[in-house]
């Protein structure tokens, strides 16, 4: 892990650096902060001008929105009918569907990438491009045929149906990323192991696997994000069974009055698993994302 | 060309290790000075400080008359040859060699002329179009050299450039490198852990250990008159025999009484005066000991092994749990187990103070 250690010796250089960093952080993180504090505001505070920025100073934070989405939601703004919020069930679905899809996609994709990198495959370039091109057709065109296909095969409202779809959506990214990585890992060590009598599989197990875990984790982050936030297919294919959170996210916006508080609260809870996972694998992110495109 | 002077150089890494410990050293204009020592002795760090790739904690470095402490590498007019060549993987050999000239905007035709001349001298014209990945390590090494030479710097700094070559190529390159340096007359600091390279290439050798400069001297001085126990043990193959002794009267006595070496009174006097404690170490090269069948030598013992080395024979004789190694003419015929006696050439032996490890006489 090489890091340029050009100490910005000059004081001016250091000041400019920290000003630039501050500006960057504000641009990228303020909207996140805005979502976070909106989640803790009740309705009047949300749309006030001048905007309420600082909790406890500008407004009294309340956990009302979280209560609504996690426990019990007042259904119609007019009546008093309330119903048990479906959010937690859907969050569980999101976890198992996106989680399984990510794990399987990363494993299958890595195996395929290894094959592309180590063995001479006929028409390798075209095959790789085909894999990449499966991600190019706009979903709006494929959504109807998939709907008909899933209905025909009875895969709607099932766990395996949507998960299979998410695995396929994740594969292109995994294959391209991991192939790049394998190209960078020198062949000599596997070959040496094989000369010593190890089969290719054992050589992989002993030499390659320990080395491949970091980039697999890095790839997993990207695949997870795509599966986690997917909306178009899940709300068409799984409206009744195994629904994930994204359709709920759409519905919770409400009708007549935009329920900013609820949307923000849902987002905060919905995005935190990914933030945590990314934080856990942050060390591997840099190392794993080179696509092997930088020659040594 | 310029003289390189290092004064009281100290380098302490952020994690606390004192890589260079108050080293002062000067390489006069045009000299090929070798920095020799085991890995981790601070020789590379010293070289990198001279190059400006590392910033010394304290001490001054002069190139020619200029103090270069605060100058970035680019402004020190030095060339650095890396151990792993550091060739730009995406550039051809030609572009790699031309890189330093392009960096300062030399005209294209001038660049072409000089690159061709360097390729000529280093016999790498045939690889100019190739990229590093498709060249042999020998060729890569010469391209790295080409990149350094083309700039006509005041100083060459080389960090173990030959270690990655195979044995045969390495000995050729030693000769070529030495010839090239003498022809260009550029002051060169050359780092290596290989004493043969040091002995054959260096006009002077600076031996370092754990950050300290042990000794600076010509190959002969360093070989024949090692200033410290470490230099004695590090230089020479087989290494110098080091026998713990004590001064009894005018004679050096071995621990088990098998060895007693009479000294000239003035020599014994000098030792007694300079020694800091009773413990002394007698240092004598294998070729400075003669074997004889009789029993009138300084020491008697029994032959434990005999190794024919082509132009010599190497004997080892057990004494107080250590082996004394003696090289003789190939024709001497003592067998294993024969009782022999050894006599030591007084004029070529060294006596060290066991505590300070420094040579006394």
């Amino acid at each position: 892990m090489n890091v340029q250690n050009r100490q910005t010796r000059s004081l001016l250089g250091r000041i400019l650096f920290w000003i630039a960093t501050a500006l960057i952080l504000v641009f990228f993180l303020f909207p996140i902060y805005w979502i976070l504090i909106t989640a803790f505001k009740d309705r009047p505070d949300i749309t006030q001008l001048p905007p309420r920025f600082v909790p406890w100073v500008d407004f009294q934070p309340t956990t009302f929105n979280f209560h609504e989405i996690l426990i019990e939601m007042e259904v119609s703004q007019f009546g008093t009918a309330t119903e048990q919020s479906p959010f937690l069930g859907q969050l569980f679905n999101s976890v198992i569907i996106s989680g399984t899809a990510t794990v399987v996609a990363v494993i299958l994709g890595t195996l395929a990438a290894y094959a592309f990198s180590r063995f001479r495959i006929k028409g390798e370039g075209d095959l790789l491009f085909f894999i990449l091109s499966t991600r190019m057709l706009p979903p709006v065109v494929t959504v109807i045929p998939l709907f008909l296909m899933f209905t025909e095969l009875g895969m709607r409202n099932t766990f395996h149906g949507i998960t299979l779809l998410y695995i396929t959506m994740g594969l292109p990214f995994v294959v391209w990323m991991m192939k790049g990585f394998f190209d960078e890992v020198p062949h000599e060590f596997e070959e040496a192991a094989m000369i010593d009598g190890y089969s290719r599989l054992e050589a992989i197990w002993r030499i390659v696997i320990p080395e491949v875990i970091p980039p697999m984790l890095a790839t997993a982050v990207f695949v997870l994000i795509t599966a986690w936030n997917e909306f178009v297919f899940v709300q068409l294919l799984n409206p009744l069974g195994y629904t994930t959170v994204t359709p709920f996210l759409y519905a919770v916006v409400g009708y007549g009055r935009t329920e900013w508080g609820r949307v923000a609260a849902t987002t905060v809870v919905f995005v935190s698993p990914i933030v945590i996972f990314t934080f856990l694998v942050r060390k591997y992110l840099l190392r794993g994302v080179t696509f092997g495109a930088v020659r040594r | 060309m310029a003289e390189v002077r290092i004064e009281n150089l100290v380098k302490v890494f952020p994690n606390g290790t004192r890589a260079v410990n108050d080293v002062s050293l000067a390489a006069p204009d045009g000299e090929f000075l070798v920095l020799l020592g085991p890995s981790g002795c601070g020789k590379t760090t010293t070289l990198r400080c001279v190059a400006g790739l590392e910033r010394q904690t304290s001490g001054d470095i002069y190139i020619g008359e200029r103090v270069v402490n605060d100058l970035p590498p680019g402004e020190r007019d030095i060339a650095f040859v890396f151990q792993f060549y550091a060739l730009y993987p995406h550039l051809s050999a030609y572009d790699n060699i031309a890189f330093p000239l392009r960096a300062v905007g030399v005209a294209a035709d001038e660049i072409d002329r000089r690159v061709m001349r360097v390729a000529e001298t280093l016999r790498i014209k045939h690889v100019l179009r190739k990229r590093p990945r498709s060249m042999s390590s020998g060729e890569q090494q010469r391209v790295a050299l080409g990149r350094a030479v083309i700039r006509r710097p005041q100083v060459f700094l080389m960090d173990e450039p030959l270690t990655n070559l195979d044995a045969a190529l390495r000995s050729d390159m030693r000769v070529e490198l030495k010839h090239l340096q003498r022809e260009l007359g550029v002051t060169t600091l050359y780092v290596t852990h290989d004493q043969t390279e040091a002995m054959t290439m260096g006009e002077r050798i600076a031996v370092m250990q754990l950050g300290d400069l042990q000794q600076v001297g010509t190959p002969l001085e360093v070989y024949q008159y090692p200033a410290t126990l470490f230099v004695a043990s590090f230089i020479g193959d087989p290494p110098m025999n080091l026998i713990p002794v004590t001064l009894e009267g005018d004679a050096l006595q071995g621990a088990s009484g098998h060895l007693s070496l009479a000294l000239a009174p003035d020599v014994a006097g000098a030792i007694r005066q300079k020694q800091s404690g009773p413990g002394l170490v007698l240092g004598v090269r294998a070729e400075d000991i003669t074997l004889s069948g009789g029993d009138e030598g300084d020491m008697r013992g029994e032959v434990t092994t005999r190794e024919p080395l082509g132009d010599q024979a190497l004997y080892s004789v057990g004494l107080d749990g250590q082996f004394i190694q003696i090289t003789t003419a190939p024709t001497t015929r003592f067998g294993v187990g024969d009782a022999i006696s050894l006599s030591i050439d007084r004029s070529r032996m060294r006596v060290f103070d066991a505590a300070t490890e420094r040579a006394l006489v």
Partner: protein, 425 residues
């Protein structure tokens, strides 16, 4: 026949509860979009014994596409509540059954507001074939800040021009920030919001969208009256909040409730939330009136028809339920639950008039309803109208140029769909 619209993505979501196989009682399913009347319907059907009825309310964004994807899958609810403009599409795909004869025997047809029956169920217009009966009637009511009107000495005006003067007065005054706020969004995701708002102004200026007999649009939609009406809309827009070009019902309700706007006109369906102090701070200061007219007096028709799916397994039970639903006393129950009926006798009934303060105004306004074309090409024509009129209202395009563009492209769509003129009646 109006379509109320939500801001959200309109990609379909099926939330039809799978009907539990009742022992002998048949089970029926109804699908509608999620808003209070849908909950009211769920309440109403509980008192129906002949069948187990499940009412599913899905977010508006997915409502149109959900129903039609179910039609595509040859399934879906027994009794889909469509929007008036969907009738064309549904009939073209023969997804719903004809009710013309059934209506005559089972419904007191003469008690209904004639326009309601026509616009909710007849396709093609004037053909005498009916495919839907009114589920809920809806029309816009004028909503105004009573406290501001008192301060300014105003009364709800009868004409749009006078209303504009009032709005301008409020805009310049420091009593309130904005005069007239409205759902000006004409973008694809906003469905028909701008269109229903501006249509009633065009009709009130004596203008038309097209000629139903000859299917001609050129020369009709870009007539001088329409241009004047659109110009007027622009001035009305200017009395509202800045950048209201993307406003939807949400922003309008927000504006009225947090007190930054003096007046608007919105579907009566929203009235319930406007008078609920818990969700609307300005609830006490909001008054209701019949929206103004001009040389003529028309209002965009809202409400939705209910139809019987061609793929329903128990068509008989469905028709039975429809008969029950349309009966007088059930319609009375319906209005008690804050539903709205298209039957004049129910509208005149004491129960309806007293159910909510604005009901009498609704009854009066509902007599003035008029609606769009309900052709299968409705969607594309609606989009074009929305896009260009929005540019005109927000001042990014000259009014006449916008109308000419709409006329040209609408005519092209109709000519392509009906090469040899209107389909035989």
């Amino acid at each position: 026949m109006k379509r109320s619209v939500l801001l959200l993505v309109a990609i379909l979501m099926l939330v039809t509860a799978i009907p539990v196989a009742a022992q002998e009682k048949p089970s029926l399913s109804i699908i509608w979009f999620e808003w209070p009347p849908c909950n009211a319907l769920a309440e109403l059907v509980k008192s129906y014994e002949e069948a187990d009825i499940t009412v599913t309310c899905i977010p508006w964004g997915q409502w149109h596409d959900q129903i039609f994807t179910d039609f595509a899958a040859r399934g879906g609810a027994d009794l889909p509540v469509l929007d008036s403009q969907f009738i064309g599409e549904a009939v073209a795909g023969n997804h719903i059954i004809e009710l013309t004869d059934w209506m005559q025997e089972n419904m007191d047809v003469e008690t209904y507001v004639p326009a309601a029956l026509t616009y909710y169920g007849e396709y093609p217009l004037g053909s005498g074939h009916y495919y839907g009966v009114p589920m809920i009637a809806d029309v816009m009511v004028l909503v105004y800040r009573t406290d501001l009107f008192e301060a300014a000495g105003f009364e709800p005006a009868a004409t749009w021009t006078e209303t504009l003067e009032q709005a301008k007065f409020f805009k310049e005054s420091d009593l309130v920030e904005n005069g007239w706020t409205w759902f000006w969004c004409g973008a694809p995701a906003c469905g028909d919001q701008l269109q229903v708002a501006v249509n009633q102004i065009i009709w009130s200026w004596g203008g038309e969208l097209w000629d139903p007999e000859t299917y001609a649009v050129e020369g009709v939609i870009n007539s001088p009256e329409n241009a004047a009406a659109l110009e007027f809309s622009r001035e009305l827009y200017l009395t509202g909040p800045e950048g209201a070009g993307n406003f939807t019902y949400n922003e309008v309700v927000d504006g009225m409730c947090n007190g930054t706007a003096a007046m608007t006109a919105i579907w009566v369906g929203f009235a319930a939330s406007l008078v609920n102090p818990e969700s609307c701070p300005q609830a006490e200061n909001l008054g209701f009136a019949v929206p103004p007219g001009e040389t003529e007096h028309y209002l965009s028709l809202g409400g939705q028809p209910i139809s019987v799916s061609a793929y329903s397994q128990n068509e008989e039970a469905a028709l039975e339920f429809m008969k029950w639903l349309q009966s007088y006393d059930i319609q009375i129950e319906w209005v008690k639950l804050l539903g709205y009926s298209a039957r004049t006798d129910v509208l005149a009934s004491e129960e309806f008039q007293s159910a909510a303060p604005y009901n009498p105004i609704f009854a009066e306004a509902y007599q003035l309803v008029k609606d769009f074309w309900n052709l299968p090409e409705y969607q594309r024509m609606l989009e074009l109208q929305g896009e260009y009129m929005n540019l005109a209202v927000t001042g990014q395009m000259d009014v006449q140029e916008a109308l000419d563009l709409i006329a040209e492209e609408h005519q092209a769509i109709i000519d392509e769909a009906y090469p040899d003129g209107p389909p035989a009646q």
